[in-house]
Amino acid sequence: MALSLVIGFSLAYITLLFLIAWWVDKRAEQGVSVVNNPYIYALSLAVYCTAWTFFGSVGRATTGGLSFLGVYLGPTLLAPLWYMLLRKMILISKHQRITSIADFISARYGKSTLLGVLVTLIAVLGIVPYISIQLKAVTFGINTLTHFGGGPVAAPASILLDAGFWVTVAMAIFTVIFGTRKLDPNERHEGLVAAVAFESIIKLVTFTAVGLFVTFGIYNGFGDIFTQATYRPDTAKMLTFESSGVTSFSWNVLMMLSLFAIILLPRQFHISVVENTSPRHIPKAMWVFPLYLLLINIFVLPIALAGKMMFDSGIHPDTYVLSLPLAKGAAWLALAAFIGGFSAATSMVVVEATALSIMFSNHIVVPLLIKTRSIGGNDLVNGAARLLDIRRISILLMLILAYWYQKSVGNTYDLVSVGLISFTAAAQLAPAVIGGLYWKRATHQGAVSGLVVGFLIWAFCLPLPSMAQAGIISNTFVTEGLFGIAFLKPYALFGMTGLDPITHAAFWSLFLNTWAYAIISVNTQPSMLSLTQADLFVNIHKYISGQEYDILKREAKIGDLKAVLNRFLGESRSLSLFNEYQQANGFLPDNQKIAQAELISFVETNLAGAIGAASARLVIDSVAKEEQITLDEVMRILEQTREAVQHSRIMETKNEELKVLTLQLTRANEQLKQLDRLKADFITTVTHELRTPVTSIKALSRIILDDYERLDDERRTAYLQIIVNESDRISRLINQVLDIEKLRSAEQLHSVDTVDLREIMLSTVAGMQQLFAERNVTCSLPHSGDAFLVKGDRDKLIQVMVNLLSNALKFCDPVSGNIKIELHIKGHFVLLRVQDNGKGIPMHARDMIFEQFTQLHSHEQGKPQGTGLGLFITKKIVEQHGGTIRVESEPGEGATFEVKLPLFEQ
């Protein structure tokens, strides 16, 4: 295939990408965000699939069997946690205007310049091998297309004849144009994201096309290809872990490395966090992205098997995706596949180099310039343009470094082996990032120690030996150990042998990195700024809705702040920012006035978007006098917040108590109302009871007065008798009401003596003998002559006896009445039983008779005698003495009242 055809197609494809990016950016300027879509977000995340995936997976499958899948199963495994992890990272980053992974770590540990530099160095040095394999893949892609079947490609005579060099130059130009067109305070590049998403579709479609061609064109489907593979030992061993030499630990490490890579690789952080348009896209991306990974991996194994079965060792397995269509004469499919691989490589290089250049300029160059006063002061150089230039240069430098690495080291390794070196480097950021998100106690010193330890071990165990192998540095430290110490061999550190280099390096670097991070964190004190940042990162949800408490007290002239913003963001952008602030806060003091902390934070946050948090802090520090704030003060501010929380808790409990009190009051009120009603009833009843006899006395007296002459003696006597009776009734009633009042007012007995119930009974019966005789009622008394001693008020107990006896008298059989009195001792009680032989008490009335004003009516007996208070008073007196009263009755067989009083025992 002609070289011009390949280049022509590639250029046409790049032009298409530019058109897409240009159109999307134009729409964005019009206020329409094309990339604000969960599917585009998920597709742009597929920047994860690079030339490594497109070409390298197949190559990896021929040596490591199914282990290539670990690189995709790791991210898939993490997908369920995105909802917490990625979301949190996005919220923090949007809140703090974080623009790179270095910025993120630096901001978490107190906006540290040192950490920014450190993470940038790890990222740049760690990712260079990864970029180099993209260049290599495109280069051999071109070579495969143009030289297929023509034998090995001769080494180029000069660098200008090397396809790799021109690929590097083209990539650099492409990246510069795409990634550094303008300086956006939020580092958002919608056009870039759209192009990446489009490239993801091209990758998937072309790779699947090759896969279908191989599986169903060359072979008869999956069954055919796999069955044939089992016949050959070299392909059969690719089908299981055991036969391809994948151990359980190396699989675990591979999964873990790729699980970290999906969030920690600078380009993944850039696409998934910095370029994210809304956290609402995460839920959909959580299943769409793993689905993409699944689809692009289906045909890897069939292609690898087919290549292995069809070709001799002369063709490198990394090129099977192109070689298979070419060998079968499908040149156009091969060209399409090349465009797919080209997409994979360019999208990776563009995003990665852009992300790295942001880090490089914000964390290394700008702090350096600020420190040396090259920017700042009264220098009126346009900072924005200068920043872009710095980024362009850093992109060029990184690509040159990658080209050099590929030429000198990369050629001796296959794609995936080199890529995994970068994965291991990126994983070094994991403790600092994940610890920083969930562990408040983690300190700046801990993060620095962890990163330094991890980075040194990584460098010692992976890139340095590979450079030694390539002959760049001396090989002795690999074979004999550093300084000749056998324990310090890079592939068998501390004597650990039997692991492949990646697993070995990943184990030691991550283990010691995490250990250093944790131990140093626990043993150091966080700075004040670090403390507030830690709280913000760990408890970001507290800050999203609520007010940020500003702990740093800073003062700066408004004019200075304006000058700083002008320099870094350009005049128009800074003017619009100040207008925005003025609108939000209603005022903006003139230039000579001192700005409040709030405005300074606003400027710093916006500046951070352009030059990173650490640099922004340095710049602001140069114009703002910062009042040194003591730890006590910080504690006080934090304490205030805590007090507020406690206070509200106390309020809650108080509220609960109030509710209970209110309930009690309501109940008491109900009781009072009830008592009031009872009292009213009582008075009504008493007056009624009084009126009845008064009425009859009045009526009869009037008759006697008016008709004295006409009445005979008998009549007159009868009337007078009634008047006397009724008067008795009235006085009785009044006495009893007085008794009740007395009983009510004195719940306890006044005079307590030892009294003999039997003596009381006998004297009462004696006093009432006349009444018994009148009614013709006989009275049978207990035979026993013993004393029945109780503690009590003698007069009151007599009253009980009188009441019981008169009650019995009232209800006795009118013809042959009999009252039976009994006294017993039962346990610690004296039982007094008074039995009559009247009609008895109906069942329904038994509970009522002890209530006040209960009178039993009956047809035969007509109007009841008595006041209805007797038994009520009796009951009250008995209760005062600590006893009980009850009634037994069978209708027609009389009633028995039983009083139970505590026996007085000497």
Partner: protein
């Protein structure tokens, strides 16, 4: 932010960590073809698809309510 959904997703994560690692993989690491597909390869893609579907369902279920 629903705690329910978060817990469900964390449980899913740990379940799939077990499913996609040794010693469970040992069971499927055998020289057999299932439906014409190598057993381990078949297992990986089956679990993979299951994870996608389950995550999709968890995420979707909550959005409705």
């Amino acid at each position: 932010m629903s705690d329910d959904r978060s817990s469900q997703l964390i449980i899913l994560f740990f379940a799939f960590v077990v499913l996609l690692n040794y010693p469970v993989l040992q069971i499927f690491d055998r020289k057999e073809l299932w439906f014409g597909i190598p057993a381990l390869y078949f297992y990986f893609f089956f679990i993979w698809l299951t994870l996608i579907v389950v995550v999709g369902l968890v995420v979707r279920k909550k959005r409705k309510s």
